[in-house]
C-alpha cells in the first residue's frame, strides 16, 4: 500500500526526535500558561516560575492537573494568555449542564490545528480527489469547523451541510458523488435505515470512507457500518479543550488512532490516585496541548478511558496509538454494585444480526433492586412471521448480556423507527433510578 503523508518529517520522526519537539514546545507553552490568571496562581505553587523549571519531559509530572471545572471557574477569560485582538476564533460548549467552557485560538493556533486535521485526513488516504460531506454540526461545536478547514486545506471539495435532514444528505451524497463523510456512528446507522425509503441505492453512491467520532462506539459497530456501506470507517478522537478533532486519528491500517505527539503530550493515569500508568494499561487520558498559545491547557483530564500503545505501525508513523475510547469515567453505570459501561451492552447488541442498530438502556428500581432494561429494534427484513422467532431473539440477547455483564436484563423488542434517533451525540442511557 502506498502511504501518503501530509508532513512526512514529523510523521515519521523517531521517538527521540518526537520527544525533543515535545520538550521544546512544552517549555514554550508553559511560558504562555504563566500569562494566564489561572496558571499564574497555580504553577508557582508547584515550583514552576518559568520554562527554565522544565528541564526534561519528566518535569511535566510537577504540573497539576487541569479539570473541566477549572475551565468553568475561569469562564470567560481566566485561561486566556493573549489579548482579544490576537484571538481569531472562539469555541464554546453549550453550557446545558452549567457554566459553559470556552476555547480561544490565535491565527497560529488555528493554523497548527488545521494542519493536524489535514494530516489526519491524508493518513486515511484522503486527497484533493475527494468530495467531503461534513455531517457534523457547525457553530460553537468544534467538530464541524475543525474537519471543514482541514479538508479544505487538503484540497477536498467540501460540502458544509452540517447535521440532520437525512433526505437531503442522501440526495447530496448521490448528486455530488460524495466519497468521504464526517459523521457520528449512530447517525450513519440511521442513514442506512433511511436509504431504502429514499429510493437511492448504495450502488448509486460513491462512498469510500467515513470519519467517525464524537461518541463512544464499539469495534462491532464499526464493522457493522463497514459491511452495511462497503466503506472504510476511521476512528477520530478530539475534544474542544484540545482544539477539537485531529488529536488522534486512524491511518489506513485502522489499528488504533495515532495520537499526534508533536501536538499533544498524552498520559494515562489512574483516575482514583492520579498516578501515571505505563503503556498498555487502561486509565484516564490526560492531554497537554503543545501548540495552542491563546489558551494553553496543561495536563487536562479528559475523563475518557483508554490506553496507549507503542510500536511502529505499518504506515511508518511512530506516534503512539490510542486505543478505542472504552467509556468515560463519568458514564460508568453501577447496577446492583456491578460496574457496567454502555459500550459493553452495545458490543452484544451489534453481534446479533436480528436486531437493528439503534438501542437504549433504561435503569429503573424495583424496591431496592436496580433493573436494567435494554430496548432494541427488530431488523425488519429478518422477521419470519413467527412469534416464536421473536421469543428466541429476546432470549438470546438476554443470555449474551448476562454472560457479558453478569446482570440479568429485561429486553424489549420494538418496531424499527420507534426508538429516538440522534443526529448529534446519541443519548443511550436513561437512568430513572433517582425518580423512584
Amino acid at each position: 500500500m502506498e502511504i501518503n503523508y501530509w508532513n512526512k518529517d514529523v510523521e515519521t520522526a523517531s521517538r527521540e526526535d518526537i520527544q525533543a519537539i515535545q520538550l521544546s514546545r512544552l517549555r514554550e507553552v508553559v511560558d504562555f500558561a504563566l500569562k494566564t490568571d489561572h496558571y499564574k496562581r497555580l504553577l508557582p505553587k508547584a515550583g514552576i516560575n518559568s520554562s527554565s523549571d522544565i528541564q526534561t519531559l519528566d518535569d511535566l509530572k510537577k504540573i497539576p492537573f487541569t479539570m473541566k471545572d477549572d475551565l468553568r471557574q475561569n469562564y470567560p477569560t481566566g485561561l486566556l494568555a493573549l489579548e482579544f485582538k490576537d484571538v481569531v476564533r472562539m469555541h464554546s460548549s453549550s453550557g446545558t449542564t452549567g457554566i459553559p467552557t470556552v476555547i480561544y485560538l490565535s491565527k497560529d493556533d488555528l493554523d497548527s490545528w488545521t494542519n493536524l486535521v489535514a494530516r489526519s485526513i491524508v493518513a486515511t488516504g484522503g486527497s484533493s480527489d475527494d468530495i467531503f460531506q461534513n455531517m457534523m454540526s457547525y457553530g460553537l461545536f468544534t467538530g464541524g469547523l475543525g474537519l471543514h478547514y482541514g479538508a479544505e486545506r487538503v484540497g477536498m471539495m467540501v460540502i458544509p451541510i452540517g447535521g440532520g435532514n437525512t433526505g437531503k444528505q442522501i440526495q447530496m451524497m448521490k448528486d455530488f458523488q460524495t466519497t468521504s463523510l464526517h459523521i457520528t456512528p449512530s447517525y450513519l446507522l440511521h442513514i442506512h435505515s433511511k436509504l431504502a425509503q429514499s429510493g437511492v441505492s448504495l450502488e448509486e453512491l460513491n462512498l469510500k470512507r467515513a470519519f467517525i467520532g464524537a461518541e463512544p462506539h464499539s469495534e462491532e459497530t464499526r464493522q457493522k457500518l463497514e459491511e452495511l456501506f462497503g466503506i472504510k470507517c476511521f476512528n477520530s478522537y478530539g475534544l474542544s479543550e484540545m482544539n477539537g478533532p485531529g488529536v488522534a486519528f486512524e491511518c489506513e491500517y485502522r489499528d488504533g488512532m495515532h495520537i499526534w505527539e508533536d501536538g499533544f503530550i498524552p498520559e494515562i493515569i489512574d483516575p482514583e490516585t492520579g498516578e501515571v500508568l505505563p503503556d498498555g494499561e487502561l486509565g484516564e487520558l490526560v492531554l497537554t496541548n503543545l501548540t495552542r498559545k491563546a489558551m494553553p491547557i496543561l495536563r487536562y483530564r479528559t475523563r475518557d478511558l483508554a490506553y496507549l500503545y507503542d510500536g511502529v505501525c505499518r504506515c511508518g508513523r511512530q506516534h503512539r496509538r490510542l486505543s478505542r475510547i472504552k467509556g468515560r469515567t463519568d458514564d460508568m453505570m453501577i447496577i446492583n454494585g456491578v460496574n457496567v459501561f454502555p459500550s459493553q451492552i452495545e458490543e452484544v447488541i451489534m453481534r446479533i444480526p436480528e436486531v437493528g442498530t439503534n438501542y437504549q438502556i433504561y435503569l429503573t428500581k424495583k424496591g431496592a433492586i436496580d433493573q436494567l432494561t435494554v430496548k432494541v429494534e427488530l431488523y425488519s427484513k429478518i422477521f419470519s412471521g413467527e412469534a416464536s422467532q421473536l421469543d428466541q431473539i429476546k432470549k438470546r440477547i438476554k443470555e449474551e448480556l448476562r454472560a457479558s455483564i453478569f446482570i440479568h436484563p429485561q429486553v424489549q423488542l420494538h418496531e424499527p423507527g420507534y426508538l429516538p434517533v440522534f443526529e448529534g451525540k446519541a443519548i443511550r442511557v436513561v437512568d430513572q433510578r433517582d425518580q423512584m
Partner: protein
Amino acid sequence: MKITQISIFLENRKGRLSEVIDVLGNSSINVRALTVAETENFGVLRMVVDNPTKAIETLKDNGFVANTTDVIAVEVADEPGALASLLKVIDAGGLNVEYMYGFVERKVDRAMMIFRFDDTHKAADILAASGVKVVGESDIENI
C-alpha cells in the same frame, strides 16, 4: 392447497393496531380473519385478507414489519361437532397444529378455520385425502 397469511410484528403501543387496520382499509383490503398472539411488550398480528400481495406491499410501504406465512384454510359446517370431527382427522393424520383461529360466514352457514401446521404440504395432502374441504386463495378472495 395452502393460502397466505400476513403476520405483522407490533409493539405494545396505544393505537398501533388501529393504524394497521386503517392502512389496510385505505388500500381497500378486506380482512377475512384475524388473531393476535401477544407477549409482554409486543404482539404478532395474524390475518387472512382478500389480497395478500397488495396487503404486504402496503404494510411494508407504511413501515410495518410484516411477512407472509403459509397456512391452510378449511371449511367446516357451522354446527355442533363439526370442528371436533375435523380435529379427529388432523389427529389421525399425525399432524401438528402450531396455532389455529376461525371465523363464521353468516350468509352460507359455514365456518372457516385457519390452521398453521409444522408441515404445510403434508397437512394439505392428508386433509384433502380425508374429504375435508380445503379452501384456496381464490375462494378467500371471493367470500
